[in-house]
């Protein structure tokens, strides 16, 4: 299962998808992946930065949505305070 977490005032908004089912052609799983990709692009356009966060691995900044990612965390646009 993959998870997109978008940090917001609500804590974080989450979206789940099953990459294996999507690859196997499951329509619902494919729709979930497309929806996650759409939200990823929308948040990125607003200035958010995405990070791939997986246990035991270094955190990695990502520019493209990867359905194989276990977890992607998106941080809203930041400014110097």
């Amino acid at each position: 299962m993959g998870m997109l977490r978008i940090i917001s005032k609500r804590g974080d908004d989450r979206l789940l998808w099953n990459a294996e089912d999507a690859l196997a052609g499951d329509a619902e799983a494919k729709a979930a992946v497309q929806e996650a990709e759409r939200i990823f692009a929308k948040e990125q356009a607003k200035g958010a930065t995405a990070f791939r966060v997986e246990p035991g691995k270094p955190i990695e900044r990502v520019e493209q949505f990867d359905p194989q990612a276990e977890q992607i965390v998106m941080v809203p646009r930041v400014v110097g305070g």
Binding site: I7, K9, R10, G11, G47, I59, R61, R77, V78, V79
Partner: protein
């Protein structure tokens, strides 16, 4: 007399509108709600290592090693506040960086950790820098 009555009615209407507007504002602002805090706490636990989480609970901050400079660490506080940059264990400056959108406190910590570990260059470029004065260093030994 009529003017007084009209004034009283207008005042009452204005009060009701104000109360409704405040209610709407509170209802749509989930910042600070227990659910938002709980979710932010879950994300924080998922992102920090067990050691970092333990350190945070005990000391109220986490130290994040710079990926680019082995002698530099970033001391990120649990709550809102500036991040200390420490070189060889000594404070050299504070950094201030915040999201445009208000987020729960735990999410601020997540933001700092992700950016420092995976995008330190952007983090340093965007953050405002504040340097300790001689007097601050002398009067506040905890900074050293």
């Amino acid at each position: 007399m009529n003017m007084v009555a009209v004034g009283a009615v207008l005042c009452a209407v204005a009060s009701v509108v104000l109360i409704l507007a405040l209610g709407e504002l509170i209802a749509h602002s989930s910042y600070g709600r227990p659910e938002a805090k709980r979710r932010a706490g879950e994300l924080l636990r998922a992102v920090l290592t067990p050691d970092q989480y333990g350190h945070l609970m005990q000391r109220g901050h986490i130290d994040i090693a710079s990926p680019s400079d082995p002698e530099r660490t970033y001391r990120v506080p649990k709550g809102p506040g500036r991040v200390q940059v420490r070189e060889k264990g000594r404070l050299t400056m504070w950094l201030c960086l915040q999201p445009l959108e208000r987020v729960p406190e735990a999410d601020l910590l997540v933001m700092h950790k992700l950016m420092i570990e995976a995008d330190e260059e952007t983090y340093l470029r965007k953050a405002n820098r504040f340097f300790p004065t001689f007097w601050e260093m002398r009067e506040r030994p905890e900074l050293q």
